[in-house]
């Protein structure tokens, strides 16, 4: 959670662009990553991330803090954007193009000689999970969100989130084992 987040949100709600700018700078990387792991290529992730923050800026008055960080609200918007994206504009991307994107992304990840799992393998395995399972895995292990935050973003109980996480990890293990 960003320090002084409540104040920044209230100021942004009053129309203070500098405050929103701060919120944007803090939250754009995790939201971009979250979307990137769920779509096929970088341009889609950028377009959707832009839509998420535009939506947040335009509807900031509707945000109500109920003890959860602003990120839960942003993840909620991001989830809906990805769902709409797949429902309305089914992507038609060539395999070569998405593969090239993955290689570029992998190059940005610190190369580790002992690394046995590639980003590509993880992305392919993640795509086989249900949307809820993908969200829980990404928010929990990639972004280190608490179960409470994930539950708020997914509108589920913490118990349900833990159960989804457990099933998703088992499913990922099964998929990755079968890939090898």
């Amino acid at each position: 959670m960003l320090e002084g987040e409540e104040k920044l949100i209230r100021a942004a709600q009053r129309g203070d662009t500098a405050s929103f700018d701060e919120l944007y700078a803090h939250y754009v990387p995790p939201i971009y990553r979250f979307i990137y792991m769920k779509v096929t290529h970088r341009e889609e992730a950028e377009d959707l991330t832009h839509e998420v923050f535009l939506n947040a800026w335009q509807n900031l008055d509707r945000y109500r803090s109920r003890g959860f960080p602003f990120s839960s609200w942003l993840y909620q918007i991001a989830r809906n954007e990805v769902i709409d994206h797949y429902r309305l504009r089914r992507p038609n991307v060539s395999l070569e193009e998405s593969h090239a994107d993955l290689i570029r992304a992998e190059n940005r990840i610190e190369s580790d000689l002992d690394q046995q799992l590639s980003l590509e393998e993880i992305k392919i395995a993640l795509a086989e999970l249900t949307p809820d399972q993908q969200d829980v895995i990404l928010m929990k292990f990639m972004e280190d969100c608490s179960h409470e935050e994930i539950a708020a973003a997914l509108d589920k109980s913490e118990g349900a989130v833990r159960l989804i996480q457990h099933r998703a990890l088992n499913e990922l293990k099964r998929i990755l084992a079968s890939q090898r």
Binding site: Y32, R33, H50, W57, R62, E110, Q115, L117, I137, L138
Partner: protein, 139 residues
């Protein structure tokens, strides 16, 4: 395998949008006018806030009345409440006390008459031993 999955996901944290994208997107977003909430939405929000405040205030007032007003206020407001039974019991107890006092008065009147008669007999009888007469009075 689980550790490996988690490690790989943690490494994905280095994925970042490009600085060019961030600048362009931010500029575009902030140049967009904010949607003003509709009058209905504002009124609804205000109404909800007001209801919450009024409810909290009313509950506090009720609590204060209950604490400082006490049972007496409730007795005045609801004369047929459960406390009416307590009142009936008190009346019954007072009546019982009164009856006991009447019986005692009756007893004392009768015994006073008996004592007066016996004292008269003592006075008249010079032969009767005083102790016997006293025993009669006492027992």
């Amino acid at each position: 395998m689980e550790e490996l999955i988690i490690q790989t996901l943690k490494k994905c944290r280095s994925i970042e949008p490009t600085a060019e994208f961030k600048d362009r997107s931010r500029a575009l977003i902030l140049s967009h006018p904010r949607k003003r909430p509709s009058l209905l939405a504002v009124l609804r929000r205000e109404a909800i806030e007001n209801v919450k405040f009024t409810l909290a205030l009313s509950l506090t007032a009720i609590l204060l009345v209950a604490v400082f007003g006490g049972i007496a206020s409730w007795e005045r407001i609801f004369p047929n409440g459960p406390w009416q039974e307590r009142q009936n019991l008190l009346t019954e107890m007072e009546t019982a006390n009164f009856e006991i006092e009447l019986r005692e008065a009756e007893y004392f009147t009768e015994s006073a008459k008996e004592i007066a008669t016996l004292l008269g007999e003592i006075k008249n009888s010079e032969t009767a031993p005083v102790d016997t007469l006293l025993d009669q009075i006492i027992f």
